[in-house]
Symmetry: C2
Subunit: 309 residues, 2 copies
Amino acid sequence: MSLTVVGSIAFDSVRTPFGERERMLGGSAVHFALAASLFTDVCVVGPVGDDFGEEHLALLEARGIDTADIEHVPGGETFFWRGHYDHDMNVAHTDETQLNVFAEFAPKLSTASREAETLFLGNIQPDLQRDVRRQSSAEFAGLDSMNLWIETARDSLLAAIGEVDCLLLNDAELRMLTEVPNLAQAARRAMEVGPEVVVAKRGEYGAALFTADGAFAIPGLPLEDVRDPTGAGDSFAGGFLGYLDAVRVGGNYDERALRRAMAYGSVMASFNVEDFGTERVRGVTEAEVAERLAEFKRLTHFEEAPVSA
Amino acid sequence: MSLTVVGSIAFDSVRTPFGERERMLGGSAVHFALAASLFTDVCVVGPVGDDFGEEHLALLEARGIDTADIEHVPGGETFFWRGHYDHDMNVAHTDETQLNVFAEFAPKLSTASREAETLFLGNIQPDLQRDVRRQSSAEFAGLDSMNLWIETARDSLLAAIGEVDCLLLNDAELRMLTEVPNLAQAARRAMEVGPEVVVAKRGEYGAALFTADGAFAIPGLPLEDVRDPTGAGDSFAGGFLGYLDAVRVGGNYDERALRRAMAYGSVMASFNVEDFGTERVRGVTEAEVAERLAEFKRLTHFEEAPVSA
């Protein structure tokens, strides 16, 4: 079992009502990989510049993450994002984006990365996602995207979605992509493009899963300390696909495994938001993950009983 | 077991992307009563005008609802609301409000209404809510409110909340009331005012319950047909308090009963939005309620299992 992720490797400068940080290690591939590394073996694919140091590699390698496909572009600078959140932390405000080495990125997967059974195409330009999908022999591939690509590269994005098994999007983006305001109908419309599994991420409200068998929904844990939501969606995806890769039997997953994967995704997202950047997830233990899964179970569990009970 | 509700009895003119209706029977007390009547005996308290006819009384009485405390104001007109929803049906746009007979409403509860074990103070001016609370000998009282009263009658509202056992508010209103952006912290702050139970309603995202014992959350059912959300919050409250009244043992409820009440509230809200006004809830059967409760259980159920499973 192993999982390859392609996506941004970034430095993020973030301000929230609870503090700020300059140039933290971040990016979709980093957040995803750290979360997934609790469950399975992970290879990261993506470009970095001269400003990406040994200490950043070490942070990933401490989690057993394979960094051989992190491509160092001499003379380049790593992707940079600056953003902030006001009191409604469901909304990220982008203040600055520097593509840097990402502008010229042409993914080239090593044999190990190509052969991973599971693939995650993090939020990057959809033609790049398709390029990586073609290089990979993964039996199960997931894809994330964002409003930017829905607006500027819609056809490429639809083609990319048609080539994966699982689509993960924010609920607003799923509605935007399909132009269907009702979420359940939007998910079904997205399935017609190709994926058998559609996950609608809902920020603090949790996430919903749609398959041919029906729907599943999990609320967000009502955390008392939410410091920085940056990367929560990628941590969710890392827990979700990391767990699925860990329990894989052939290329298919039963409904029970998918539901449990939703719960593990929610667990990893809940850790993500408790501190800035990767500060919480990179140190989380398996015992903490198990404990929080039990907390999610308690949060959502109710017993059916007739009214006369 | 019996339950008294005070709130608006109204005619609503509503337009949504799925159609429109003129002067439907509505109002917080009506939506609440119809939902609660599936679970327990309900008395409705509130004023109506000359335009409120026998057919409207008959609609309530067909559900066994006690209408003796519906006060007919000769020469008056019933409360009227006109509003619409765009594609984001979480947001109601008010186009017109006529208080009419509500402007002079001085609630006077009959003996039967006073002696009901459970009381629901629907969304009306908080001094009226306090007046009704003082007349009632209910062992368990719930209260709903809205942004208007938070902005214009904050002190009265806080006093009213201090006199009930359970507060039900939209999550945005709970944050506005407490001035605490984090929902879990906002719920705890609200509990300091008095209520032991706080329910945050979240529209299509479901609802969250907070007690001294912890939190519970239930997602909304991902319905494919949502036609009119008007009254969904009151139908939720009707299912929630109606179920609690039906299973009451003394004045207290254990955590399991509260969680089941959340599920029944969600069931009734899900029926509410499937058609305009009261059109769906007023005809719903006990068998349909039981079936949908099972659907909610399926929607939210997952089994814990270690990653190695």
